[in-house]
Symmetry: C2
Subunit: 350 residues, 2 copies
């Protein structure tokens, strides 16, 4: 099929051992001329070692697995890009998998990654339960989760990297309060996830500190149904905003959303109700995806340092591999990025 190490050895008139040595930089134990002869042949033949063989021999590959809900979501797409770049710097490749938020898919990919002998995996989903990870971890798999602050039901040994969701959402609440708002709503979305609960609590908690009763905040969905699929987060946000405005008899002036896509969708809902974002209703998102500063008005949102998270994920994994750390969780401080969606003054001449 392809050119093998034997072919190279034969043509260079040396043994496969020598070729292998050249390949792996053990050049001190051979004459320079031998080395260059081999290198020439390698060039000529465009020889590249067969991965499967290397891997079989070595029992592993310098590659990480990254499992996310879906790269079509800009949040995950961006993280994937950053993670790949960070891994590359440490000499690791990345295998990217979309779980589509399905437990079965996630499980299937995880097992596949294990069979592939990956050096570690980063799991970017927030499925409520992590019990299925137990056996994987016990079997020696190195797993780092993203944005799932450990739950009591989680298996031990889970390393998690996430922003302090509670504090982040509180920032959003404080900001809206400081801007003079007194009637609030929170779009939690239809998906159950770990971070969702934390963000709701953080938001309500901050407002409670100012005497706003939990019951007075419109938390959407009003009735729990939870269907899943982030296919149409924006559409959900639109519907949510409309329902909130109506249910509150147009009293709500501030809406926070559990993520930016939902917040952006809410823009449209607000508009459809004849109101203007920024002027009539302030909106705060969470994540700070690149769209936040593109849309009009630009979106005030809680920033998640994806670049740092990607770096940390890689360094944790590397640490677990070389034994320099046991996989310590990291909790990052979020910060609020103030933009136009919460600044009535700077809005357009309407």
């Amino acid at each position: 099929m392809s050119v093998t190490i034997h072919e190279v050895a034969r043509r260079a008139g040396v043994s496969t051992t020598t070729v292998s040595n050249v390949l792996n930089g053990r050049t001190e134990r051979m004459r320079p001329e031998t080395r260059s002869r081999v290198e020439t042949i390698i060039q000529e033949l465009q020889y590249r070692p067969n991965r499967a063989a290397q891997q079989l021999r070595a029992g592993g590959i310098r590659t990480f697995g990254l499992v996310v809900p879906s790269v079509s979501n800009p949040f995950w797409g961006t993280f994937a890009s950053l993670f790949e770049a960070a891994a590359l710097k440490h000499g690791y490749g990345v295998l990217l998998c979309n779980s589509q938020r399905s437990l079965e898919q996630e499980q299937a990919y995880l097992e596949e990654l294990r069979n592939d002998g990956v050096a570690g995996v980063v799991l970017g989903s927030s499925l409520p339960s992590a019990r299925h990870l137990g056996p994987l971890i016990e079997s020696g798999m190195r797993i780092v989760t993203l944005d799932r602050s450990s739950q009591s039901s989680d298996p031990p040994g889970l390393t998690d990297i996430s922003v302090d969701n509670f504090a982040g959402a509180a920032l959003a609440g404080e900001h809206l309060w400081a801007r003079g708002h007194r009637h609030f709503a929170f779009i939690a979305g239809e998906m159950r996830s770990i971070n969702r609960q934390e963000r709701v609590e953080g938001f309500l908690g901050a407002l409670a500190g100012h005497g706003v009763a939990r019951e007075d905040v419109y938390v959407w969905p009003f009735a729990q149904k939870s269907r899943g699929k982030d296919a149409d987060l924006a559409e959900t946000g639109r519907r949510a905003a409309r329902e909130i405005i109506r249910a509150s008899g147009r009293k709500v002036t501030a809406i926070a959303a559990v993520n930016d896509l939902l917040a952006i969708g809410a823009y449209r809902g607000v508009r459809e109700e004849g109101l203007t974002v920024g002027r009539d209703i302030a909106i705060v998102g969470f994540d700070d995806i690149f769209l936040a500063e593109i849309i009009q008005p630009t979106l005030t949102t809680v920033h998640q340092p994806l670049d740092q998270m990607a770096e940390i994920a890689v360094s944790r994994l590397v640490g677990m591999i070389d034994g320099s750390n046991a996989g310590q969780s990291a909790r990052l401080a979020p910060h609020l990025v103030e933009r136009e969606s919460t600044e009535p003054g700077k809005r357009r001449r309407a």
Copy 2:
């Protein structure tokens, strides 16, 4: 390290051959009870065959490679998701790689994929030259490109799947003309790519049919510099729009962009110049990414059927593998999705 086929064979009291047969569905040649015994052990041990070994033996894997500029771009993120789903339906996995629009990176990934023994690869970049693909194709690699209608300099045997960019851009031009616009601009962006030239030509061609001279259309950038990086497409669009409006002495009333991200960025530029998209200036994009119908006003744009393209890419690859087709290129018909950015009437009460 992990449990092997030998371990399973030992415990089941059979040979590895039998276990292998069970694994590969050759169940007709063994007693049902032998089979179930083996299956039980496999379950108990949670045994999964080592991929590297299978691959080494078989000389290939049921996996496709997908190389795109960057999944942080929603266009590619969405395509990646769709492609993965389509591949999965045919029993293939997907290895996703981000070339970051670097020839070296792309080349490196391609070689790596070849060494991994992937069954085929889809290349979603539009680097002007495809000469580096020649050797790969000759060495038997199955490559399908996306959106690079073949160039004369391309190596033979390249299968391409793309929308008719020329026709698509013409659609945009016709639409703007029909809406009564007479002063046009086209934001081509700073990256050289195959489709860019086609789209510029299609747009200018359509207008020429109505007597608009090429020189009368502001094609941005006015002076060629071409730097690359789609990191900040939106920011580029913003700058472009401002420059166009100023250079034309505010005469331009219609702007088309080579892609949606650029178009969306242009929204802001227009706004910064004190004008309103839809009312004062019509904007048309290309791609129809999901943002097109989220932003305000929603964006009129040329739709690319990414789902179909993903399906076709997979079926071409599968065809090349089982020999049922030699890898025929496909040219899809684009269509225009009319939305608010070109409808002055329906715009907001300003």
